[in-house]
Symmetry: C2
């Protein structure tokens, strides 16, 4: 591997590259397995001889690397057999009226965003819209924590205030003043807005909420983790 | 501050100190606020002049430190005004027949454990039993991610296999083969076992499960995050 290629892959540690590049970085056998069976397109695989010997990568370009080179390429504390560059998918046009679309307002923790993407995938949600100040889904920490759901769920940065204010579909949002999810009927289609854990949902988005809901508290914790809250609301939505 | 005291506080970065010491480390204004209004006993507070000037710490021993010293004491990437040593509470005898007790089997990610403790606190759970291979609740990463719930929820390492096999209360456990939580009636009192995300619940504990339940999957994700699963099951438990 030449120096430029090495530097290029290492550059995915930097935020600006998550936005600028047409590809993103994935690591480890589990994520590679998910990528290879999904419909994403891989640009190149860098892997140990062992991994290459026991995996069918079709016609994807690859390079065999030793453990030392792998650890130089890796963003993880412990590199794990394989790293790959994956092409970002084009944003697909979506008919919002036929589905529940998740909307994330200022979810800044990468692990949390990854867990939310995975939770959405569990409940059959295919589209997530996020505010610009939400963590980047191409942050390697987000990608890793989705455990493959990043290949199935479309995450799109969007002008949420504008989209919601111009739409006529139900907008569900978790607000302290909302109706208990145990009493509320949660619309089957529309938008579900999850806010930042400490700041909640910004006022420009709150004004579009047609169905304010809340998760009743029975103990003392000040708030629920955003991914946990997402799971609880989606579970209630599905069980109706 | 003398060198020994500095070294002592820094030693809480090491796992062995979480177990050995009678105290643990907490950081930041939010956690200090929660500690001061809870019934935990603080050994000593190290804080900036600003923080000390605007907080009532009662009779707790304290030392004013500057930002540089604070960053040397801190386990966080960015030290935040105050650090304190808190005495561990003695384990209280518990009447398991009168409550739902959460049981964690091999939850190894510290952030996940912290989020589970916080979720338990939200739903009014006061006791958590954990296997020895679960992350230590005195790991600073766990403490910080509980956001104060660590002061209200008792987390105890225990011989889970023995406790469950000798008890006659319902034992709820999430198993792939379990009855859908949307159809199952979840007992009000007893034990709720949450397993490791990839390995599930170990067989020595599975044999004690009287109420196997599952969270139905509507999409493609292979598994749910353990904290999200905990929240979903506890939410269903409360809404019955």
């Amino acid at each position: 591997m030449d120096k430029n290629e090495l530097k290029y892959i290492q550059s995915f540690a930097q935020k600006k590259h998550w936005l600028q590049e047409s590809v993103y970085l994935i690591e480890g056998p589990k994520l590679l397995e998910e990528a290879l069976k999904s419909n994403v397109e891989l640009k190149k695989i860098y892997a140990t001889r062992d991994w290459l010997g026991s995996n069918d990568i079709g016609g994807v370009e690859f390079e065999e690397v030793d453990e030392i080179m792998l650890s130089r390429l890796s963003q993880l504390q412990t590199a794990n057999q394989v790293i790959a560059l994956v092409y970002k998918k084009d944003v697909q046009k979506t008919d919002y009226s036929k589905q529940l679309t998740l909307v994330l307002d200022g979810i800044q923790d990468p692990g949390n965003l990854g867990t939310i993407i995975r939770t959405a995938d569990w409940f059959g949600i295919h589209h997530i819209l996020v505010t610009e100040d939400t963590a980047s889904m191409y942050n390697p920490k987000v990608i890793q924590s989705t455990m493959g759901s990043c290949f199935r769920v479309q995450v799109q940065v969007a002008d949420i205030e504008q989209i919601l204010s111009q739409n006529t579909l139900p907008v569900i949002g978790t607000l302290l003043s909302g109706k208990s999810i145990y009493e509320a009927v949660i619309p089957v289609t529309g938008f579900l807005v999850i806010g930042n854990e400490s700041k909640g949902i910004r006022s420009g988005i709150q004004t579009s909420i047609t169905h304010p809901v809340s998760i009743p508290k029975f103990g003392e914790a000040e708030s629920l983790n955003a991914a946990v809250a997402t799971g609880i609301v989606l579970s209630k939505w599905k069980m109706q």
